[in-house]
């Protein structure tokens, strides 16, 4: 094996890929420009919709207002609530969206309150309408204030303090470090995103430089040169690994920008500090590298086996689905892998990522994951090299 030859193939594939406009669009324009713009757009319209709904005045109908003037007064004091006179068919008006809420006060309400009992109230609203939900929130708030007033009146009548009905004081403290809070938030989605971005990043290049070379007839020129099959496969695999890694990093930067630009418009998220220590990054790399190698090697093997790009794409689709499936498992909360499960590629990496991000370092998991993925990547590379020597694969038509 000659490293000089591997380097020649590696550079040739990189130059070819970089000169392909599709790569630039997929690697740079989509993640760095399209994602943030998309999220910004979504954030902007969401925000605009929310603001409009918050500003709007809630039109409500009260049936039986005369049975509880103090409660109605709470509504009247809120400038965002407008009480309409009772129409012929109030329910129809609510369904049509002309009013946002109907409150029914029964005739015995006042008596029940005065006698120290519970006064029933019926609130009707449309949960599918934002404006109606906001009206419900406003009315609930007013009702809660009125309820508080009644309670304090009842307590003072019996010469009791408010503490009488609140005998316990519970103080809750969260002991998770800021890193762990960040980690647990990142740990939910990040492993899945990394797995998908690596795979998608590797896919185009891997197919283009294997099945694509077969389709264009350039592979023969390599095979009759003095470079050997293993050198060709390794050079190609390293190129795919680098492209896949770069597109993953760019994808993550793009998604972070998108997330920040999207949420900053919606008011940001509280309590999360972005910041990962160097040792965490090092460990992440240790898990990342074999995963990138594995994805690249498997895709290259499939690409060499396929007759053309179209065939390669149809072979890759089920592999991609399986990858998504294994990645999605890591999103589910509460699932813990047993020791042997760390031998399953993709699944192992996404779980170890999750652990590392949460600050839980289990060396046995890291080593198992690293070795299992490395072994499979090596086998795939050897398989790819072997396929290159098989005439029925090279000259299938």
């Amino acid at each position: 094996m000659n490293w000089k030859n591997i380097k020649l193939i590696f550079i040739k594939e990189l130059v070819g890929t970089v000169r392909d406009k599709r790569t630039i669009i997929a690697m740079i324009i989509i993640p760095l420009i399209f994602y943030p713009l998309l999220f910004m757009g979504i954030g902007y319209f969401n925000q605009m919709g929310n603001e409009k709904s918050e500003e709007a005045i809630s039109k409500i109908i009260i049936i039986g207002a005369e049975f509880s003037p103090p409660l109605v007064k709470y509504f009247q004091n809120n400038p965002k609530i407008e009480i309409l006179s009772i129409p012929n068919n109030p329910l129809l008006k609510l369904q049509k969206g002309e009013v946002q809420l109907i409150l029914i006060i029964p005739s015995d309400f006042k008596d029940r309150i005065e006698e120290g009992e519970s006064g029933p109230l019926i609130l009707k609203y449309d949960a599918t309408e934002t404006k109606s939900r906001i009206a419900q929130k406003r009315i609930n708030q007013a009702i809660a204030e009125y309820e508080k007033e009644i309670i304090s009146q009842r307590l003072s009548m019996m010469h009791l303090k408010e503490e009488f009905i609140r005998p316990l004081i519970l103080q809750t403290e969260n002991v998770a470090s800021p890193q762990k809070v960040t980690g647990s938030l990142l740990g939910v989605l990040l492993p899945y995103l990394i797995v998908i971005l690596i795979f998608v990043g590797a896919m185009h290049t891997a197919v283009d430089i294997t099945a694509g070379e077969k389709e264009r007839g350039t592979i023969t020129t390599l095979l009759v040169s003095q470079i050997n099959r293993l050198e060709i496969v390794l050079g190609k695999c390293f190129a795919v690994m680098l492209i896949s890694f770069i597109s993953m990093v760019l994808g993550l930067i793009g998604l972070t920008l998108a997330f920040l630009s999207g949420t900053s418009i919606m008011g940001g998220i509280e309590g999360v500090e972005f910041g990962i220590s160097f040792s965490t990054i090092f460990l992440l790399f240790l898990v990342l590298l074999p995963l990138v190698g594995l994805a690249s090697a498997v895709l290259i093997m499939v690409g060499i086996f396929a007759r053309n790009i179209k065939e390669a794409s149809s072979y890759i689709t089920p592999i991609y689905m399986l990858t998504i499936f294994l990645g999605v498992i890591s999103i589910s909360q509460g699932i813990e892998l047993s020791g042997k499960m760390f031998l399953v590629p993709v699944l192992n990496s996404s779980f170890v990522f999750k652990e590392i991000l949460m600050g839980k370092i289990y060396w046995s998991h890291i080593i198992t994951t690293f070795s299992a993925n490395m072994v499979i990547a090596t086998l795939a590379l050897l398989g790819a090299t072997r396929l290159f020597t098989k005439e029925e694969v090279l000259f299938r038509s």
Binding site: L8, D20, G217, T220, T221, Q226, E391, F395
Partner: protein, 248 residues
């Protein structure tokens, strides 16, 4: 320079069973000679040349290229050959200069020598004007010149050319055959497959006619003519095929 003896290639096809693509071929090719493999489509020309170029293994028989066995010394054989077929493509996103440099390097040449050799080839093939233009912008003729340049950059003593004029217009095809003649003058051993009788007639010193994997005649054009009732290669060809089929 090329010695082929008892060369047989059998494919196992799932549907059609065993297919004898090449059957017991025997021929030799010297330096400074163009050896023509003539036959219709599917005669076994491409399979034979793929075996000679180390891309396929023979089922039986022996192929020695400049002293090296294609099975045992495949890597050494590759050093001796330049391979060109209608299927060998070029990298669209590279310029001719980059292409030739790359192939020079993967054939173990030093940059200085590549530069010198490349300048010479570009001059001879009249490629200087488009050496910095990316391949996807080149015409078919320009591309074929580049393919020739690619296959001779490492100065191989043997050229294996599998229907190199297939799909080319007559002007480009003529350019290719002119260069093949030049390579003969340089003393290279050239094995040239074609299904065009006229091309074989004009170009080849020795012609081997193959049909359904079998070698049915071999010799200089004059010898083939002498053994036949016709003067025309096409007529000779059909005569031989009919004789062969009658024998069966």
């Amino acid at each position: 320079m090329i010695q082929v003896a008892g060369l047989t290639k059998i494919f196992n096809d799932k549907k059609r069973g065993k297919i004898v693509a090449v059957n017991n071929l025997k021929f030799n090719c010297r330096e400074g000679q163009i050896f023509g493999l003539l036959g219709p489509n599917g005669a076994g020309k491409t399979t034979t040349l793929r075996i000679l170029a180390t891309m396929m293994l023979p089922t039986k028989g022996e192929v020695i290229i400049n002293g090296f066995d294609v099975v045992k010394d495949a890597n050494k054989v590759r050093r001796q050959i330049g391979f060109l077929s209608s299927e060998t493509g070029l990298y669209d996103r590279f310029t001719p200069r980059e292409t030739i440099k790359f192939f020079g390097r993967i054939n173990g040449m030093e940059d200085k020598i590549i530069e010198k050799k490349m300048a010479e080839i570009f001059h001879n093939l009249d490629m200087e004007d488009f050496q910095e233009v990316r391949v996807h912008k080149l015409s078919t003729g320009m591309k074929q010149k580049l393919s020739i340049a690619r296959c001779i950059i490492h100065d191989p003593p043997i050229l294996i050319l599998d229907e190199p004029t297939l799909g080319l217009d007559i002007i480009t095809a003529r350019t290719v055959t002119e260069y093949v003649k030049r390579f003969r003058e340089q003393g290279k051993c050239i094995i040239y497959s074609t299904h065009l009788m006229r091309e074989a007639e004009r170009l080849c010193d020795v012609i081997a006619i193959i049909h359904q994997g079998n070698l049915i005649a071999q010799g200089r054009l004059e010898e083939l003519k002498k053994n036949s009732s016709s003067e025309d290669l096409e007529e000779i060809f059909f005569e031989l095929i009919t004789q062969g089929e009658n024998l069966e």
